[in-house]
């Protein structure tokens, strides 16, 4: 098996892609001040795959919204490629636990949706529909949905819908992919199968990925680095570099190196929960 070293080295010398500098976020909800994040600092290099794990309600999703520019921080700075984030970021692709496909569109049309919105594709879409459809077909093929392009979402299984959702997040070739527990609602077999799909997509595209997850095995399987957050208000309390060779297979998840790492992170999570 190929060593991971060259890859790791190349990533660690990449320029920074996402930076959160001393970011705090609080909001009012049902008459109470809620501190979702406090003094969070996190930097992610271009092409890095970072998983964020932590107890529920620790503001993991908030981080993703900050990066996508859907929320402004109360304090601190969010930067992408060195520029402060001031509004929605169109070079970010998003996928959530719920695939939220549009039921009136076929799988292919769902994948094409971002191209109808984001510049410059928006202008080109009408005249280049064929070429764009070809891109979408390619993407669907990569995730193993060959032949399902014209199916409406309700004829697809949960796992297939989530694959379509991943394709939709990637179709406009975003620099950054943010994933909010994308596989949490799937059964164990489908989930592990999709780990492989996501890994393959990442190895092909090499975009920067921020993955929020509850599942430590998932985090270690997919990421180059696992960040553990404290309970609310969320801060980074632990970071583990995952130094395992790629591509990782499900076999690898039973090997001592993998199991040990999961175990070590698990102990930290146990500490921050109490």
């Amino acid at each position: 098996m190929k060593s991971i070293r060259p890859l790791m080295n190349s990533i660690s010398s990449n320029p920074l892609c996402v930076e959160l500098r001393d970011v705090s976020l609080s909001y009012f909800s049902s008459g109470k001040h809620i501190h979702a994040l406090e003094g969070l600092t996190l930097s992610v290099r271009q092409g890095e795959f970072v998983a964020i794990a932590g107890p529920s309600g620790c503001g993991k999703t908030t981080i993703l919204k900050l990066v996508a520019g859907l929320l402004p921080p109360t304090k601190g700075q969010v930067l992408i490629d060195g520029h402060p984030v001031k509004g929605p970021q169109k070079n970010v692709g998003m996928a959530f636990q719920n695939p939220i496909l549009l039921p009136w569109r076929s799988a292919l049309e769902n994948v094409l949706l971002p191209l109808e919105i984001v510049e410059p594709h928006r202008q080109l879409f009408r005249n280049n529909r064929r070429a764009y459809e070809e891109q979408a077909h390619d993407l669907l093929r990569t995730v193993g949905l060959d032949g399902f392009a014209d199916k409406p979402p309700y004829e697809l299984s949960g796992g297939m819908q989530q694959r379509v959702s991943l394709c939709r997040a990637l179709i406009h070739q975003p620099e950054i992919l943010v994933l909010d527990e994308p596989f949490a609602a799937l059964d164990a077999f489908t989930r592990e199968e999709l780990w492989g799909v996501l890994q393959a997509l990442w190895l092909k595209r090499r975009c920067t990925v921020l993955l929020v997850t509850h599942d430590l095995r998932e985090a270690v399987f997919l990421a180059n680095r696992v960040c553990v957050m404290s309970k609310r208000p969320g801060r980074l309390v632990y970071e583990a570099v995952v130094d395992l060779p790629r591509p990782r297979s499900l076999e690898d998840t039973f090997k001592p190196a993998f199991v040990d790492l999961v175990h070590r992170i698990y102990e930290y999570i146990g500490e921050v929960r109490v």
Binding site: A68, P88, M94, I117, V118, Y154
Partner: protein, 257 residues
């Protein structure tokens, strides 16, 4: 016979049988209890009256249809517009909803004399009543459809730089379509009721007007002939919009396929 036509037949036969049974019971009831035609004419007598007067009935019926569709068209345009607005903006929703409910609670029949004072006897009061009665259900349904868009979906599009109008065009509007068409089926028959009510008191044309004249001349079978025509047109309009609904938002009915 193909499977498709068999299926279609199977869906047409039960309602036809019920309607036929309804007329048989009505006819038999009148005959057994010797009900005077002046009180409740048998359907056969009403049908004879229809045949005798059909040249007078149809121009009036078409007038009513026209009135209904104009009022209904206005209701669609303004109902969708207002529904979209209050569906999007919580502030507008809170500000306008009580007023809308207030307007909707006013019996439309009570507005007929007011409209007569404003616009005189004629088609306009009937159009306005048809409009008012259909407007509310359409607006409320469109608002519900627009307001129930998943927040994650909104986030996905917003992060791509979508404008409020993009959100409406790509998700809000199609999302509201099943609600919209469901409301159309109901609203179109309500609209029909509205124009007939207005014609009863405030028009010199239309099937409502014809029924008032017939009853003042004690031609009760003709009144019933008019009622039957109104009912038939109501069913026809409902069917048209139900068909349209299937065509446009079939995706919302996947479970019943």
């Amino acid at each position: 016979m193909s499977e498709e036509t068999q299926k279609r037949l199977r869906s047409v036969i039960p309602p036809l049988v019920t309607i036929l049974l309804f007329f048989i019971v009505w006819e038999a009831g009148c005959a057994i209890f010797k009900v005077d035609d002046f009180v409740l004419p048998k359907p056969s007598v009403a049908f004879q009256a229809y045949l005798q007067w059909q040249h007078a009935i149809w121009p009036n019926a078409l007038q009513t249809l026209f009135t209904t569709l104009v009022g209904f068209g206005l209701a669609i345009v303004s109902g969708v517009a207002l529904g979209a607005l209050i569906g999007y903006s919580t502030l507008l929703y809170q500000a306008l909803y009580p007023l809308l409910i207030g307007f909707n609670s006013v019996p439309k029949a009570a507005l007929v004399p007011v409209f007569v004072i404003w616009f005189g006897i004629g088609t306009i009061p009937a159009i306005l009543i048809a409009f008012l009665i259909a407007f509310f259900p359409i607006a409320v349904n469109v608002a519900t459809g627009v307001a129930t868009v998943e927040p994650e979906m909104r986030d996905v599009l917003r992060s791509l730089g979508a404008s409020q109008f993009d959100l409406f065009r790509k998700i809000g509007f199609p999302r509201a379509m099943p609600y919209f068409f469901a409301s159309l089926k109901v609203a179109v028959t309500l609209s029909f009721v509205g124009s007939v009510i207005a014609e009863l008191g405030a028009s010199n044309r239309g099937i409502g007007n014809m029924m008032v004249i017939a009853s003042s001349r004690f031609e009760v079978p003709l009144v019933f002939a008019g009622l039957l025509v109104v009912a038939a047109m109501g069913i026809a309009l409902y069917a048209v919009f139900a068909l349209l609904e299937r065509r446009m938002v079939g995706w919302a009915y996947r479970s019943s396929q």
